[in-house]
């Protein structure tokens, strides 16, 4: 599956994104499993709330971290996320 830049991105209702105090990191929880996220992956996924397309996710991240040129990194992570079922597109 490839990401469609024209469609909005939503975090999967079959998964849960949660901050874990004991681990000091965000994790994705799903039936009998857990994925630990680094900070940038977690920041990307938190923007996948169904209101933004790829371009808007990138723009918001670049603004938040006062940087540019994130498009390639964000796209490749979101494709991984899509193939793992962590995010959905309509």
């Amino acid at each position: 599956m490839t990401l469609n830049p024209d469609l909005t991105i939503t975090f999967s209702p079959m998964h849960r994104l949660q901050w874990e105090e004991a681990q000091q990191k965000d994790v994705i929880l799903y039936p009998e499993g857990m994925v630990e996220l680094n900070q940038s992956s977690a920041e990307i996924l938190k923007l996948c709330d169904g209101s933004r397309r790829l371009e808007q996710v990138v723009a918001d991240l670049e603004q938040k971290f006062s940087t540019r040129g994130l498009i390639n990194d964000v796209t490749s992570f979101l494709e991984v996320a899509l193939n793992n079922g962590w995010i959905k597109q309509p």
Binding site: M1, P13, M14, R16, Q18, E20, A22, Q23, V27, L29, Y30, P31, E32, G33, M34, G85
Partner: protein
């Protein structure tokens, strides 16, 4: 002999709450101990809530409500609600017996995240035979209700010689029922399954055929259904990394409050497994004899001790080593480096002869009568 003195064990991540040993089903490969009928007390709702809170504080995040049949505890929704408020990801591991739409809604409102439903075969006749209870039609109804109410659903099918020929039909059934995941759990031979091993273990050819079917199906449904294939370790050269290492990740609490490093550990002698009514989870996890017993590598014998793969598989499964060799410190005989490895070849051979013979013994079903009988005999 016991354990290393590792000052800081990693915290528990996975808590298996075996709420009760009561179960309307009688599966002959049940993972509960053979002598479960001797342990018939159950800790209270307040005890469970305290245990859940203490384990969560240490870092446990995945929580399995299991049993027996966890639905036979009337306080299940209350425990789910408490667990969800603490931030656990809550899994219900059920036979589906006693689950109706009202209960499914009630559990959803309490915050239950996921339901894992067991099904024994792809046909009513075989399912009801293996389960020892009429349950097939109800399971299918329950599966539809689980999906109707928006839960992720894992369909769990334990694979053995009686149903392995149905692999294709089992996968088709799982897809039709809308399972998000199907767990094909090749039987692990402890407890009841150990007792019934000659009748349950498929031949190598059966495993190979079934695995090829599962692999092909996996590719076909990749986008909508994930397939977890739990390997039949008797046919491997190296043992499984049992429990991800003793006392590193998994914590099981049995119905009577006994804390176990794995759900089979009750069968091991001399561990003195602690009870949650006597100690906190933190004391149990960090300081108890049982949880430190096989931590680290100091306890190992040869060939594990000097093996360059010991950090990969931790010497395999302690319960399997004990059941097969009588020595819980020995290398899991599944390992081809183990001097006891011929025991595995013998087991496969004996099961094969049993499969080909016409006068098989009957399966020993998991129920209180058989539990009492086989505890006395062993």
């Amino acid at each position: 002999m016991a354990g290393s003195n590792n000052p800081k064990p990693t915290p528990p991540r996975w808590l298996l709450a075996e709420l009760t040993y009561k179960c309307p089903l009688q599966c002959p490969y049940c993972s509960n101990p053979l002598d479960y009928a001797q342990h018939n007390s159950e800790i209270s709702t307040a005890d469970w809530k305290r245990v859940l809170s203490q384990a969560r504080k240490m870092g446990a995040v995945q929580l399995g409500f299991s049993g027996g049949e966890p639905l036979s505890r009337q306080d299940l929704p209350e425990l789910v609600e408490h667990a969800r408020q603490l931030g656990y990801y809550t899994n219900l591991i059920t036979s589906g017996y006693g689950l109706n739409e009202e209960k499914i809604i009630q559990l959803k409102e309490a915050g239950l995240d996921h339901i894992q439903l067991s099904i024994q075969a792809s046909t009513q006749e075989l399912n009801d035979h293996i389960a020892g209870t009429v349950s097939y039609e109800n399971k299918k109804v329950v599966a539809h209700l689980i999906k109707k109410h928006g839960y992720p659903m894992v369909l769990c099918v334990v694979i053995h010689r009686e149903n392995i020929h149905q692999m294709q039909q089992i996968l088709e059934m799982a897809e039709e029922l809308g399972a998000d995941y199907v767990e094909l759990a090749n039987t692990q031979y402890y407890g009841w399954a150990h007792k019934n091993r000659d009748l349950l273990m498929p031949t190598k050819e059966q495993y190979e055929t079934a695995e090829a079917i599962a692999q092909a199906y996996k590719e076909q449904v990749a986008d909508k259904m994930k397939i977890y294939y739990i390997i039949p370790d008797f046919h491997e050269d190296r043992p499984k990394a049992c429990m991800n290492g003793w006392g590193t990740t998994f914590l099981t609490i049995a119905p009577d409050g006994v804390a176990l490093p794995c759900h089979s550990a009750r069968e091991l002698p001399g561990l003195d497994c602690p009870n949650v009514n006597d100690f906190s989870i933190e004391q149990i996890w960090n300081d108890s004899k049982a949880f430190n017993f096989f931590r680290g590598y100091e306890w190992m014998k040869e060939p594990c001790r000097s093996c360059d793969e010991k950090e990969k598989d931790f010497g395999g499964c302690r319960c399997q080593a004990y059941l097969l060799t009588g020595d819980m410190y020995s290398t899991d005989p599944v390992c081809s480096k183990s001097p006891d490895h011929p025991l595995i070849d013998d087991a496969i051979h004996t099961a094969r002869i049993s499969a080909l013979s016409s006068d098989e013994k009957p399966l020993i079903f998991r129920n209180s009568k058989n539990s009492k009988k086989h505890t006395l005999n062993s």
